[in-house]
Amino acid sequence: MDYIHYQVEDFVDDPFFNKWVRQPGQDTDAFWKTWLENHPEKYEKVEEARRIVSFLSFQVTLPSDQEQEEVKKNIKKMIDALQHHNALHPLQDSKWTTINWRRVAAAFALLLVATLLVWHVMDYFQPQKYTTTYAEMQEIILPDSSIVTLNANSVLSYRKNWSENSDREVWLKGEAFFQVLKKPGQANARFIVHTHNLNVEVLGTEFNVNSRHGDTKVVLNSGKVKLNGKDERGQEQELLMEPGDLVLLTKEHELVRRQVNANAYSSWKDNRLFFDDMTIREVLQLLEDNYGYAAQVSDPSLLDMSFTGSCPADSIQILLTALEETFDIKVSVVDNTIMIQKKTQLDK
């Protein structure tokens, strides 16, 4: 054992070291005490390792004797029952020859028709639903030929049959970019996007809706949009948006409005992520929303640092490398978790 070169982690992981800490005895004491005398420079590391090993004392729960016996009895019962069943019901060939095939065909046909009927009726009333998973994007063409680009981890649904005179309505959970066609000569043909706390009413427009974690954020690229929502008093309120506007309605009913570079908020649909003065916190939130990554940060002050940059939406590694270089931090991905820590001497 190359104990001289061991780091704290290596001592902790070593079974012989563990034995010494947990169950000290003559053999283990003899070895380690002597070894430490000969290598006093390792004392500090050994001490740290001792503390960690001591900490890893698990408390466990064993089953009672009754429980052990009870399950054993049940197992025996089950096994007997299964063997008994197999003994009593072997396949009987004679049964197969007396089947009336006509009857079977009729029953089958009836079942088929009934199934189709039920399926058709259910289908008519079911909404059309599109769902994306993490890191998946989907383009959807609506019955009126408007185009919706659905971002990752999102759901879009709408009723199947859109008639000329009724409103065009869709429901969104997550994020999507909308390109809505104006309906010529139809004064009443509204297009409405419903999120859980906001309705977006549109006339021939391009806009981005991000509705996650109870908050809804709308960014207007071009055209005109009217928002409907309830304020903290429960009153219906309306707001008209101009191109370049960002409006955010939080789940606590707070409303925020400002002007932004609208393209930054919809660049994802062109397979590009664009960060315009975003905090690391927001960047990590975006990665969690769209890719399912959790995050751990060693120093919370890192979360407030601002980042401007872009990367291809299908290569997070480029983004992570950019973060590393911009902020002099170490970024790694373990176990679906992004770990961020300040660079130490050891990492140079």
């Binding site: 503390r51 197992i75 959790a294 751990q296």
Partner: protein, 211 residues
């Protein structure tokens, strides 16, 4: 690891007899493994009935399908991984997403520092910091640490039980967990505990206007 090799050999013999139809051998394996698997199961769920049901299923299936089982199996690896699969995949809560999100299950660990020998080695403050750091590890890290330090499993075995593609992944998980604990006690000047997790749903407001 001499004792481990001995019990492995003992298990292999009993397994061989069991495959040949010996119910005495079957009972031996049950008596030996029921308590340790139950103990392992208590980390996935606090519901004793659920654990007992899984164990019942496990052993009944073992007996009824013994004709198709292989001799070469390491008994301990096989029982632990089959049981684990049942505990996680039979749970309606986790069944759907567990394959896509490998950390999507429960695994809780409880420590006991009451023992005089142990409590003497631990500084209260450091213990608190390590508890906090440990609570923020991923489920898979907690489980790997339990299997390594309580069940004394080798990394090969952990990789089999936890269904990892490579053995070194098991080692990485455990080493990272130890590093987290080490960092927690390294800084004694009252500075922030490292690896603290901040809630990311907090979105800052800029230009607030009343509406």
């Amino acid at each position: 690891m001499d004792t481990q090799r001995f019990t492995d050999q003992q298990d292999a013999l009993q397994w061989k007899e069991f495959l040949q139809g010996s119910s005495v051998a079957f009972e031996f394996l049950y008596d030996k493994y029921f308590p340790v698997l139950f103990r392992y199961g208590m980390h996935f769920s606090k519901d004793r009935s659920q654990i007992k049901d899984c164990l019942q299923d496990l052993f009944v299936n073992l007996y009824t399908h013994r004709a198709s089982l292989k001799q070469a199996e390491n008994v301990r690896y096989y029982l632990y991984s089959s049981f684990r699969r049942k505990m996680i995949r039979n749970n309606r809560q986790f069944k759907k997403l567990y394959d896509e999100l490998p950390d999507y299950y429960d695994f809780e660990v409880v420590f006991s520092h009451e023992q005089v020998l142990i409590s003497n080695q631990l500084d209260e403050l450091q213990k608190k910091k390590m508890l906090k750091a440990f609570s923020q590890l991923s489920k898979r890290q907690k489980e790997a640490v339990y299997l390594r330090f309580y069940e004394s499993m080798s990394y090969e075995e952990i990789a089999v039980v936890m269904e990892f593609k490579e053995v070194k992944y098991a080692r990485t998980l455990v080493y990272r967990a130890i590093a987290v604990l080490k960092e927690a006690i390294i800084n004694m000047n009252g500075s922030l505990t490292l690896y603290s997790f901040f809630p990311l749903w907090f979105i800052p407001f800029w230009d607030k206007r009343s509406f």
